[in-house]
């Protein structure tokens, strides 16, 4: 097992390197010099070139990449142009908020999705199956930023039950697990849970239908095992794949939360990314994307290892 984990890490290393290269190049994709955004308009050519030397933009790109990567490896993601604070601290705080939201959303999505998926897989072609299929198609087709708006319209503007935006009372920037903060997470979490719910329902339905059609289930029934006993076997067989899908969904939500976080003004990584883009705060943009992508890469690795550990049928090649 340890050898397998080591192998996976070795395999992931070049991907991680590629990811950092893409993040590094993002800044250089931008039209003009990364500095044009922050230089005062009346700066002389001399001052501009001096600034360029300070930031190292006068060196060849591969050298810049090497220096940047060296800093990144020591945890130095540079300084935000807008706030002047270290990028790492800003990102860490935002990612924590995003992670809380994404985790709650994934749990809701997983619970509902597996319920619908199980029912649909057990009662193929029944009304419940059609309903579950409809829900999963709706879940993957709905523009979630619009769904967020609709939720705000219904539950905040019309019914006035829940707060429309923010993570806590008084513009609280950090989410805490108390009652007041809990009210703020409900709408964004439910909105966000719709995507994994659809995907998990679809996966679980296919899994359950496949497992039920296998011969061992017939054998279990033939030897007199009750429905509950069969159900437990189905769960054990479906769990590794379903959990893997859930893990990946958490990563997708964390990276894809920017639209929902913008709708609900949730102080997370997506919100930070949005601010970075519009203030042309390139170090912050680069840092946020790097952290989110690396998180996704690590999550993939963890899911892969966990799935292998859980499911004895997977060969540890």
């Amino acid at each position: 097992m340890l050898l397998y984990i080591l192998k996976r890490i070795v395999y992931v290393a070049p991907v991680a390197l590629g990811v950092s290269l893409v993040c590094f190049m993002l800044v250089h994709l931008a039209p003009g010099d990364p500095l044009t955004a922050i230089m005062p308009v009346d700066a002389t050519a001399e001052q501009q070139s001096e600034m360029r030397t300070i930031y190292g933009f006068d060196r060849p790109l591969p050298v810049q990449f090497g220096l940047w990567l060296g800093k990144v490896l020591t945890g130095d993601l540079g300084v935000s142009i807008a706030t002047g604070r270290p990028v790492l601290g800003e990102v860490a705080r935002a990612v924590k908020n995003s992670l809380i939201l994404a985790a709650v959303a994934t749990l809701i999505g997983f619970a509902l999705g597996s319920f619908f998926g199980f029912v649909a897989g057990y009662f193929r072609n029944s009304v419940m199956d059609r309903l579950a299929s409809a829900i999963s198609v709706l879940g993957v087709s709905v523009p979630h930023y619009w769904l967020g708006m609709v939720m705000v319209i219904i539950f905040s503007a019309q019914l006035n039950w829940l707060p429309p935006t923010g993570a806590g009372p008084g513009g609280s920037a950090d989410w805490r697990p108390d009652f007041e903060h809990l009210r703020y997470i409900i709408l964004p979490a439910i909105t966000m849970s719709v995507i994994p719910m659809g995907i998990i329902a679809r996966t679980v339905r296919a899994l359950v239908a496949d497992i039920l059609s296998q011969e061992f289930v017939q054998a279990l029934r033939a030897k007199g095992l009750g429905e509950w006993g069969v159900f437990k076997h189905v769960v054990t067989n479906a769990a590794p794949t379903a959990l893997a899908v859930m893990g990946l969904q958490l990563g997708y939500l964390l990276g894809g939360s920017i639209l929902i976080e913008t709708v609900f003004a949730w102080p997370g990584a997506g919100f930070l990314l949005n601010a970075a883009i519009f203030q042309r705060d390139l170090p912050l943009l680069q840092g946020t994307i790097l952290v989110l992508a690396m998180f996704f890469v690590s999550l993939n690795l963890i899911v892969d290892v966990a799935q292998t550990a859980l499911d004895p049928r997977i060969q540890r090649a």
């Binding site: 800044v27 931008a30 709706l138 523009p143 619009w146 996704f296």
Partner: protein, 296 residues
């Protein structure tokens, strides 16, 4: 039971020539009511967008400061008016032009580029394949929404930039499907037979590989249109795509966010259009996939 089943299976083969694979796919698709309704909705939305200049009741750019945010059903404003007093129905009709273009174009471009990369990598194999697929793995390390927003954010707002970003998001996905199908087909006996009988690499790719690979890639690409529509409008929603005052569903949804307390129904309308288009493409793609699943 068994003898009956056997007799069914042993029905004499039809003497006349069958209608072929694509003919039977089309026939099965026509018998799928959900897919047909979805296709009808797609055609309706496309036609409405194409003929917007002729069917729109008003100028989508002409506003009126005294007739802002009228409710649905106001005389002269069938679907109300937006925050600048522009006719919503006209803007929704015109909005389809940019929204559909921005949603479908990246998938078409990615289909061309991605399948070329995937087929070449799959057919050639060896180190070229390894290098290509490892590069593609890097792009898979980004959730698609994040990659699209990151690229658009770095390139700057605009229609062209948002098409470029979404194309970059979809190329690796299509290339991976193309590569895996091509690799499977490359080792088939009939490809080997064609090679032994002297067919050139180009002929093999054109006849055997393309003939078998394009179908699955096409189905996969149609399933991406739904995602692409949501992402493209999402970029405009964030202010990274289409610029005001151009009518586009995502952008309209964004500018109407201020109206959710006064005219919630009007504010939600552009999203309904995105939802309707995206779900229709999804359902049609599902129908197409199940129609193509059974060979013969």
């Amino acid at each position: 039971m068994a003898p009956i089943a056997d007799s069914v299976a042993l029905k004499p083969a039809p003497t006349k020539r069958g209608r072929g694979y694509w003919g039977s796919v089309l026939l099965r698709l026509r018998r799928d009511p959900v897919a047909m309704v979805a296709l009808a909705v797609i055609l309706l939305i496309v036609l409405a967008a194409v003929f917007a200049p002729w069917i729109a009741p008003a100028d989508p750019f002409k506003g009126s400061m005294i007739r802002r945010l009228r409710p649905i059903g106001t005389p002269g404003y069938l679907l109300g008016s937006d925050e600048l007093g522009r006719d919503m129905l006209s803007r929704l009709l015109y909005g389809g032009r940019l929204s559909l273009f921005l949603g479908v174009m990246p998938v078409i471009l990615a289909f061309g580029i991605g399948s070329t990369i995937g087929i070449v990598a799959g057919y050639l194999g060896g180190w070229i394949n390894t290098v290509t697929m490892r590069t593609i793995d890097v792009f898979f390390a980004f959730p698609s929404v994040l990659l699209a927003i990151a690229l658009s954010g770095a390139l700057g707002a605009g229609i062209l930039n948002s098409i470029v970003s979404l194309t970059v998001v979809f190329v690796p996905q299509i290339a991976r499907v193309a590569e895996s199908v091509t690799t499977q087909i490359r080792t088939r006996d009939y490809v080997e037979a064609a090679r032994i009988s002297g067919a050139s690499g180009f002929t093999i790719v054109r006849v055997h590989v393309l003939g078998n690979v394009l179908g699955p890639i096409f189905v996969y690409a149609t399933s991406l249109i739904s995602v692409s529509m949501i992402l493209a409008s999402g970029l405009s929603f964030l202010g990274l795509g289409v610029r005001p005052p151009e009518p586009e569903w995502g952008l309209m949804l964004n500018t109407l966010r201020t109206a959710i307390y006064n005219q919630p129904l009007v504010a939600a309308l552009p999203g309904v259009m995105i939802f309707l288009t995206s779900i229709s493409f999804n359902l049609f793609s599902d129908g197409l996939r199940s129609a193509m699943e059974v060979r013969q």
